[in-house]
Symmetry: D3
Subunit: 338 residues, 6 copies
């Protein structure tokens, strides 16, 4: 089993029940998640040995995070304990025309104060096949930007594949800050999850011709990024059409060797929980690439199917096996399996 | 902050959970609501000083009503305590093709026995900008019809705007009774919520030409009503297309100065709770009119948006602020706000 | 009230809540059901005196089955007590693109070991108007096949109408086994629930011409079956188009006197629970036939409406009365009834 | 199986969850019960053919009552449908030092307007072994007092044993009214559930000597009642010491042939639901008497055990079999049975 | 109605369900509370006009706090909106031998950064009868210590009674810090809630003679405090004997005019929620004093009864009226009130 | 960290909620547990590397078992997948005087058909410090008896300590069968959990003198067992006094070097879940012995505290750390920790 290393924050999510507003409810459901943590869980369920680098407080919530990760088989050797608090956010679940609403309470978290002295990067990367991180980690502190750069350089020194998901969050930092932090990292990246908006606003690529289709525009941006960072071998993203909070269309894009491969469009109705849908997609792409034998068409079909299934379960994590996702790709859905 | 006065019954609603029949469940959810009470809550959240005139029993259910109203900022100075019981109804929630079913148990309620001696109408109306009442109040007792007439006359004497929502309920009274009770009140009304059926069956207006569109028919009826009651400055209603109990289309109409203004059509899927949707709409229209500066196009957009959002939360009340509704009007829906 | 006799297994269903996977939840909802048991409940609610022949363990779960049946008015005189265990299955509820998943734990059940000595078939059939059984009963043991044959012969000897639902389940037996078991029974059947796949794979009828429409194909198969088993007076089935686990289209078919009658197509969105949908349909058809006066068009409309309503409630059973279903047929759906 | 007939009201109970106040909760649990209905359910579970005479509205709540009774095997042939509403009450559950609180909403119920024309008493009593009724029925209307008297006379005419439970409720009528209504009935009673307060305040028996023990006082009152109504063969009651709402001591008394028999004192801690505890006791006594072979010591032990077990389950009904109660009498409690 | 002013933090409490550990559950219940907020709610329910000075973030959680206070009638004119976050804590509920466990996440709260410029103390105190604050407010920041001192001086300048509850929390500050902060305030206090440990460790009073009874020791400490701060007219505390987390004994103490008055000892079993029990007690004492006519014996009986009842409901607040508490004092508990 | 090996069945427990009977509820809570599995979880939480040998079906329930164990850090390398079903049982929770009731549905389980060929005992035992098994494993099949013997012999060959818990279950086998199976194993056991009944009925030791105290009797039986099996170095058990299903007294016994050490008696009220209480105790004893440095008095105090805490949480497992248990031993309970 291949070893995978990830670095990121894991937070407590406190969600309202469907049809309840946060200011009026008295019941919350707890989930634990974060972009890199979710990828870790998914890849662990796909059969990889995943080591998640993070830091949580030394209290029952930190212990809960540990149990969550372990229950999915993720190795917690580098899940440090200490610091002030667990990053938290409240999710007022959306439904129908009403969008979900996130109220962040993540400042001063243990992870955002993680320091280099607490980690032994050498040991961590030994024998690994992949290192994955996202833009959220960068946004949390200048220190974490440095740490991420160092980790990427170390990973490349070990000959490990690297993966980066832009994951831009406007509430965490400005486009300018993000742009300045991300650009220096990109020369160390092999696999990159980014889309049209990232290209335009964070990488300052001139806007595509308005007469192009959505797909042609994406091809244009990917071509431009490839010119700037020829080291990036894969670029990937999703097209998401939001009809209502309960009803999306979702299509996957994978750009490799100058070609854009697209999955079929999934129609996702009666969405249960969309948080983590992007991470499930990224995990699917990473699995396809790590396998080494899958043609791009199948990688992107698998990844979008993983993401589609994620929308049908509560919680941030893709909790489906490779077999279940493949079966869904092959036979479609919605028959009772009995 | 402008003062608003309303008069009506507030009831206990006992609802089944989705997918349960009343005859087979053992769990009910409690909500408190009524046409005028719901308008009161919405207007209070919009920033008005709302006084709700009603009567509830002097027991824990009456106390619960009081807490409900107070928690939304509605003034309960004229919420009398006494009488036999709180009007109650059971709602077997609908879903998909199955419609909701209401089982009323509202007879002998404290409100239906309210008498004039218990109220000081002079003090109540002083300084008010609006008085709102609906046809349900009229239906509950002959005495309440008299009381409503008196209140409307008093309101006009004070120079207060008046608003009336037909809200015809066939289980409470016949069309003939309703017609006889409503017609004498209309000369005292400034703002009127009514639709095609009300015009045909309660105001005896000749049926519109069958070749007209739905919108043209409504214009015809509004024109006719205006001819009969030139004092009515605003008429308003919604077009609701019911595709299934979970899936509606909703459009708002506002007739003013001889023009009909229509909102865009909202597609409301995965409806959480439609009770109170009409009251949320009326509240939006009333707010628009009370503001005094909003063009009719914006009034009706705001009102239909308020109604659409109401369908996404449990309970009878619109629990969204002016800012939230305006943001929904401007930016549409269904993105996670984070 | 006419007497109806059924024979079959009733199981404990343990279902996850929507959006939960069986491997990750800690809460299950219990329902009791089975093909023939569900038909029994529905016909009892339609006003028949229904006797359900089965066997359950002599423990609290067996007692729960008894209470379930009694609460719907089904007679439990022939519900034997004893044996090792109650057949059980776990249902991971499907939603959106994710299909439901059944995990069976039904082996060694009390019913599967039922023996002839335990029953007095003579008494059971006296005065009955209908005997109903399904292919699931046949699949459970060779002994039950014999018992079913004996029961059918006895029923015919008493001049009772007989009804058989193919209900083929691939996890219980092979097509070959099913074919061998079912064919000898068909000469004793008056009313038969079967579809295209049954005709092709279990009755070995040559595949219909590919150029035919779905409806024409069904007519072809029904004609062929009628040629083989002229005793079968009614054949019936549904066309179900699965758009997602939450969203189906459903149409009913009834073949009688060489004519195929089809209901309108119902669009069933936001499905609550589809288990038992077929049994609700069969019950509707049987009621229509037993009434004796209903034209085929109305029988099939009633039956498909019963099935559609079943999809809107939790549990295996059709819990709607003849009046409620008829009202739904006549007036459609989705208005609040108040 | 012996036939038993009862007459009384069955109501909807809406209970708060433990630790919640009615004015602050939004969730209620539904139970159906009433003094005579609860006795009916218990005796049905003990193996009797019980016919419960009552009236409920012709709506889903009435249907729920019917299902409740049927699920316990009670015959509903004389459960009439019609009238205005189902009697309802709210129970704010007590815990620790806080007592439970009942808010009645039972006026205008279908049962309270039951009339003689609706019943065929002749058919009902034929073949019965016992007729049971309680003081609550008398309290509901003058008409029901007449009906009860007629029923008791009819029962005696048929040679049926009669049983009466005083069940005095101060919120329903005054002591004077109760006294006037009950006294004329007592000459027709064989088995009577009454205690010290009933004797003093409703039967006007002079207060017992203060120096007597609680038990001696009860003997004194029973002796006096026996002098007044020599027809009463059994008198029975419980001594209940309330330490807190969660913690009671309970002892049973049975007076027969001039002797008072007392059970051991049960210590009932962590009470789940005490509603129906008295009815469970009465059912146990009635079963003991109907058996005809049980010595008084065993009757009273069985009855008090039935009542003690009732306190450990939600709902009004004793849901334990004769075997379970006997086992509890013999082996005591609180070991895991495995 | 008398006006009362309080100053303090209100927090979000997230509690596990009974029998669940925080690290293993996925469901939390929300309550809002804090020492001074709880006193505010109780006094509002007792009929006072209570103004609660505090600060909460301008987000849905801040809005929820506002609704909570308003629903109990507390005036929120001085509930400021702004700052970073709402102080939060997790409560792992205790049961039996296992004690409850609090995990604080309250740093950086909006209230802890409240500044003087944000408040108009003059307006606030005008016409007030009482100002109440507790040691928790002092512990949150040096600035809040200054603000509290200023407020107390202002209150005295207005001739308002002042009340202070020591409420020492070891996790917030050291005994030394607390001692230094509290001592300078005491000369401005009329009513003081403190006990033996406060006297010994925060006021440095020499330890009482070991041979004294618990009550005698308390008298000794109160005498000493009175010598040091003759301005303090009332001192009050409870004796709590913890038998298990579910089972306490509770007795109230009130020292006035050189006399110690003690309530009877309540035995509180099956505790639902003990959070806020001390605040309910303090509210009862304050009400007794504010009434002005109640003898000390009755004040302390009322206060301890209020606290005992609080233990029987979920949430931080005393939700019982003066009438309910008085009835409980007079008639004891545990009978069903019907 | 020391390595521990255990062998046993893990089952699905389906529990009713408090106050509900299995025959009347429709909701169940899921837990996974078994004697040896529970010990494994507890020891893993205490810091040991625990390998649990068992077999579960290859379906979502088997996967759930795996997740359960992993979340507590138990190694699942020897958790085989396959076979027919997961052993299941229903627990009707007891409360007050009503005892819990177990309904087993465990026959034909995957574990009961485990065979030797599926295991590599050599690898398993290498480097281990302890092997633990209980009598339940022996009871499940003759084959498992052989396997257990072989495992014990292998363990002794490796010089590993062995531990055996009698855990006699009358529903699984007779005393005679148990006696014949257990006796031959005892010469291989170092640590033995057994009590008076085991000594009398399974080891045929003559009954102790009736005049002895409970403690003296236990000493007598332990002395006798030690004479028969001098290899057994530790014997341990609990004295449990059942006052009601919610209320027990519990004391621990540890016999070593000819001395009996007893813990203090815990009073456990308001019991949440007693299943697994014995396993928590055994885990505590094993931890004390494995530490190697703890005096017997402290071992038994720790073990009984672990068991007492287990009674306060839902589920089969001791979910408390060494630190939490030690703190409970030192400081007692029931204060809020904040």
């Amino acid at each position: 089993m291949k070893k995978v290393v990830t670095l990121g924050e894991i937070m407590l999510r406190l969600s309202t029940h469907t049809g309840e507003r946060l200011s009026q409810t008295n019941k919350l459901t707890m989930h634990y998640g974060g972009a890199e943590a979710n990828v870790s869980v998914a890849l662990s369920r796909f059969g990889y040995d995943v080591y998640f680098i993070s830091k949580v407080p030394n209290n029952p919530l930190g212990e809960a995070v540990e149990r969550h990760l372990k229950s999915h088989g993720v190795y917690t050797d580098y899940l440090l304990k200490g610091g002030e608090r667990l990053g938290t956010y409240y999710l007022e679940s959306g439904v129908g025309e009403r969008s979900a609403k996130v109220i962040y309470d993540r400042k001063y978290s243990s992870f955002s104060n993680l320091t280099l002295e607490e980690l032994d990067l050498e040991g961590i990367f030994e024998g690994a096949a992949l290192f994955h991180v996202s833009g959220i980690t960068l946004a949390l502190s200048p220190y974490l930007r440095k740490l991420t750069m160092l980790a990427l350089q170390k990973a490349k020194a070990y000959g490990i594949q690297t993966s980066f998901d832009f994951n831009y969050r406007a509430t965490l930092w400005s486009q300018k800050e993000a742009s300045q932090a991300i650009k220096p990292l990109l020369p160390y990246i092999d696999i990159c999850f980014c889309g049209e908006l990232d290209a335009m606003y964070l990488l300052d690529i001139p806007t595509a011709d308005a007469s192009l289709t959505k797909t042609e525009k994406l091809e244009y941006y990917y071509r431009k990024i490839k010119e700037m960072y020829p080291n990036i071998r894969y670029m990937s993203s999703t097209f998401r059409t939001v009809q209502s909070a309960s009803n999306h269309k979702l299509q996957g894009n994978l750009y490799v060797n100058g070609e854009l491969y697209q999955s079929k469009e999934h129609h996702i109705d009666q969405i249960v929980d969309r948080v983590g849908g992007g991470d499930a997609f990224a995990s699917g792409v990473l699995h396809g690439i790590l396998l080494g034998t899958l043609p791009p068409e199948q990688i992107i079909s698998f990844a979008i199917a993983a993401s589609a299934l994620k929308h049908t379960v509560h919680g941030d994590c893709n909790v489906f096996s490779v077999e279940e996702i493949s079966q869904f790709v092959d036979h479609g859905s919605a028959k009772i399996m009995r």
